[in-house]
Symmetry: C2
Subunit: 149 residues, 2 copies
C-alpha cells in the first residue's frame, strides 16, 4: 500500500511523538532501533520529515528529534504527502491515465468507495490520536515481549 519509506516515516513520527520531548530528544539511532528500520535510510526519511516541518530537530550534543507541543497535530495524510505518495489513492487501479466516474475503468466503482474511505482515515487520523492508543496498549508497533512469570 505504501512504500517502505512511507511506512518508516509513519512509524518514526509515531515513536517521536510518544517518546520525544524537547528536553529529551530522540537520536536517529534510537528511532531506527525502536521502529526496526535501516539506520541510514531512516536518517534520510527524518531529513525529509524535518524539512517538511512535521518533526522538529536540533543538531549537536543532546540533539535529536521531537515534536513541538505547540505544533498542530499531524495527520497521516500529511506524512504520506511529505513522502510524495499522495497519489497512492488517486490513481486508477488498472493504471489508466483516463479513469473517472464518467469514463470508469472496469473496476473503478468497486475500488472507489474503499479509496475514499481510506483517504478519509488518512485525513482524519492524527499521529497524536494513534500515539495515544499506542500508549494505552490498544495498538502495537513492535512485538510485545512475553512477560516473565
Amino acid at each position: 500500500m505504501f512504500t517502505k519509506a512511507c511506512e518508516y516515516a509513519i512509524r518514526a513520527v509515531l515513536i517521536i511523538t510518544m517518546k520525544g520531548k524537547e528536553e529529551q530528544k530522540l537520536s536517529i539511532q534510537h528511532i531506527a532501533k525502536e521502529i526496526d528500520s535501516p539506520l541510514p535510510f531512516t536518517a534520510k526519511i527524518l531529513q525529509t520529515l524535518s524539512r517538511e516541518g512535521l518533526v522538529a530537530s536540533v543538531k549537536g550534543p543532546n540533539g535529536g528529534f521531537y515534536i513541538d507541543p505547540k505544533a498542530k497535530p499531524v495527520s497521516l495524510s500529511q506524512i504520506v504527502k511529505a513522502m510524495e505518495e499522495e497519489n497512492v489513492l488517486n490513481t486508477c487501479a488498472l493504471g489508466l491515465k483516463e479513469c473517472s466516474d464518467t469514463q470508469p475503468c472496469p473496476i473503478h466503482h468497486q475500488v472507489k468507495a474503499y479509496k475514499q474511505k481510506l483517504k478519509h482515515v488518512l485525513q482524519e487520523k492524527t499521529i497524536q490520536m494513534l500515539a495515544k492508543e499506542l500508549n494505552e496498549g490498544k495498538t502495537f508497533l513492535r512485538i510485545s515481549k512475553k512477560r516473565k512469570k
Copy 2:
C-alpha cells in the same frame, strides 16, 4: 495498488477475453497496442499468464492468445496471484511483521475493512463479468474517441 506488471496482466486478459477467439487469436503486438503497454514487457507477462493456464496460446502462423470457452471464468484474484502479488492485501499497512487482530498496528482496524472488501471484489469479479460490461460500453479501457458529427 498493483504493480505495472499486474495492471498490464489484468488489462491483457480483459482484451483477450473480449477479442480473442480460438479461430482468431490475438498477437502480442495486437494486445500491447490495445492496452497501451510496452510490447516486450507485455510478452513476458503473457508468458506467465499462459504458463499459469489463465490464457491459452498457440505458436506459429495464425498463432496468438485466446480464452478457451470451456475454461472456468478467471477471477481477478487468480491474475493477481499469478503475478505473485497476492500479498498486496495481506500485509500490514505499516510494514510490521507482526500485525493481527490481537496485536494490531496503529491503523490495523481502519485498514482492515478496506482490505477485506477489496479482497472480496477480487475474488468475486471475473474477467468475464468485466468484459461484458466493457462490451456494453459501461466501462472503458481506453479513451473513447470523440465521434465525428
